[in-house]
Amino acid sequence: MTAELVRGQNHPLPQTRLEIRISAGNPIVAGATLGDERGTVHGAEWVAHPASPQLAGIEVPKQAAADHRLAVDLDAMPEHIHRVTVLLALPTGVGGPTRFGAMAAPSVAVTGLDGTEIAGYTITDLDSESAVAALELYRRQGAWKVRAIGQGYAGGLAAMLHDQGLEQGTDLAARINEAVARGVARSVAQPPPRPEGDGRVRTAAAGGGTDPAPAQPQQPQGAPQQPQTPPQQPQGTPAAGGPIDYQHPGRRTAAPPTPPPTAPPAAPGQPAQPVAGDASGWSMDERLYNQVWGMFEDLARTTAAYRSAVDFAESRMEQELDRVLSDPRTRVGPAADSARAEARAKQTDLVEQARIALDRDLAQLIAEAEVVESALPYAYARWDSPVWQAYQVPMEVPMALRLGDLHLPERADLRIPMLVRLPLERGLWIDAGRSGSFDGPADSGELRRLAADAAVAIAARMLAVYPAGEFAVRVIDPAGSAAGSFAPLVGSGVLAEPPAAGAQGVSAVLAALTQRVDLVQMAIRSGATDALPPDMDTAEQLLIVHDFPHGFDDRAVTQLRYLADEGPSVGVHLMMVADREDARAYGPVLDPLWRSLLRLTPVADDHLADPWVGHAWTYEPPTVPPGSRVLDQVVGEVGRAAQALRAARARQSYGS
């Protein structure tokens, strides 16, 4: 996901609450100027700097430091602000280097609140400059983007501020330097991290802020008077004007600064009590993800140890029995009997010891799974988890999504969540065929219905974990044979269009998606993502193809293969609900397509291998508990959010 930018390159910003992380080898000053449509800065109150660190939507540090984090909330930016320029300067009069050329190249990264990097930029080839405009965030067609600038100024802060249209730049630069010098004199060491539950939250004050920062910059002269309605906001955000809540609404624990929970000290001789989130990571989301993968690996390895011990015990016993048999003197008689008994006893003994070791590890993992399972956010949780009952449309995409459960035959009730990273790197194939070894329903029609249900359950989870308007699902159901399964998606209004039917519908959907992939790829290759047509839906797309290859001609099959190959890198994902047998007329040419997809089954089946040892794990799809309405409630919520967003967008385009 991370884009390493070069000077002049831009990159879309997927979210509006961001952190800008700056790191340099020496203490530097970080600030930001706010500009109007033409990039002009209309006065000192349009500059966030150490003497006046808070403006609406942005907060900068008060001191010079080698590492900075700037908090940005673009939703809270007044509407007339079109450009936020992040600037760096070397402090004057405090010792240290006086030009950027004398120190390590500073680097700037735009990250989400959980620390996931969106775009990074290292400002190289600076020499005598002592101030630099590092990057800018700017509005383009209602969305925010970031561009790497790297414009240095040998004349320092004053020259840079002048260049941005600020007449009193010299005075302001002097004020900034004075504040920094005071700060340097004051600062001894970094303050210790605040204890949890301290109650103080970082706020980027907006509206009625404290002196000396008049937080509401005056309307630039000549600019059209725009109604001061806040930009449309996703649910759960405080309106621009209130303090910004940096808590992630979908997360139980606060983001980065929280230390990971650690297990309390164990009683001597006892294994430590497991704690949810006891793994490394920047956020609870990431810690739980790592913990689940840690449990997955531990279970794979401890089972490998057990199986290898049992195999060894068996083969040793067989060898010993063979030896008894092959020696004519010992083949019969009491000596042979006792040798055989001894061989069997050795085998039993070793297997028993291996089982004890396995049970010890399993007990630990089961205890851990219990606490972890109940702490999982909904993206990682099963449908029967209570967190789904409190579902709200999220503000940001989680790290991963649970696609089902995995277990091994040694302990079928120890289920590991199968988490895959988002955005998906490969398509999914819900196998409606009977190729597996499972004892599923005998009726192939029933199996097809289960496959369509599993596809809907997975698609609903994907829709639910993406913010409103950032994920769209299209369905191809040529014969309408899965109308019953797709009813929850159709009824809730989460689909932009009803499922495509007939050969015409198939070719229309495939042509639209093919064109989209092609356009986005061209735009990315030529670095001109601005040039995409304004009416293009920027959301990630999931295409569900049911009943393949019904309704597909050769051209459509070729387009489908193109989407499977090229789509994931530009946000177009494929989910096939198909029985491979139906497409056997195509022969081996479709084999690469099936291989490129992650195969899932509508009923429990052992076909997935782990990356460490390669055990066969039994996969169980994320089925909704019988009688539960949770899926309908969740997609209903997603549908309402999507409709609200469409209405807001329509209003916006009407207004402008």
Binding site: T302, A305, Y306, S308, A309, F312, A357
Partner: protein
């Protein structure tokens, strides 16, 4: 308190307080011998590789080396390939961690070997050592320093084997030839 071992010596891996060790690290270090004559200051890189072979009753069941860094059961982990060797700082250049509690019950010996992947002989190596460290507190338990490098490209350094409920370490120090551990198998078997 470290024990300087000599070839063939065995020590029991009991803690001073009688408890058993839970996790140990086998660290290996080496240094290129200085060259005499012209260009003596030019350092050469020697790529020695540490490997651990897990044996169950004299049958190899798993190997941990630079292409398979973790044993399938997860009990033995190689910290990564070092291609050049330390400049003789005395630290470990390659290390293999063994979680003794998690070693599968049928594994009764772990053999540690060193091979010269680039083909230089141990005549060009100096200060090669292996040492066993208690991973829980960083204390060195035993150290075996190689003496008298010769015209061979591999070393069977030491074995860690079960002794009842506990483990013991034995310094082997047997020269051999080979590029990777596979070449050493015939040489290892007599020491089991």
């Amino acid at each position: 308190m470290t024990v300087n071992m000599s070839k063939g010596q065995a020590i029991s891996l009991q803690k001073a307080d009688g408890g058993t060790l839970t996790a140990v690290r086998m660290g290996l270090g080496w240094q290129a011998a200085p060259r005499r004559g012209l260009f003596g200051s030019r350092t050469r890189e020697i790529d020695l590789d540490a490997s651990a072979v897990l044996f169950a009753d004299k049958q190899p069941t798993d190997v941990v080396f630079f292409r398979h860094l973790v044993s399938d059961d997860g009990s033995v982990r190689h910290t990564g390939d070092n291609l050049v060797g330390g400049a003789g700082q005395g630290g470990d250049d390659e290390a293999i961690l063994v979680d003794l509690q998690r070693v599968p019950v049928h594994i009764d010996q772990i053999v540690f070997t060193v091979n010269s992947f680039t083909g230089q002989t141990f005549a060009e190596v100096q200060n090669a050592f292996c040492r066993l460290v208690d991973e829980t507190n960083g204390q060195e338990l035993a150290r075996y320093t190689l003496t008298g490098g010769g015209q061979y490209t591999a070393q069977i350094m030491a074995t860690v084997q079960r002794a009842g409920a506990s483990w013991q370490m034995k310094a082997v120090g047997e020269p051999a030839n080979g590029r990777t551990f596979q070449d050493l198998m015939p040489h290892i078997l007599p020491h089991l």
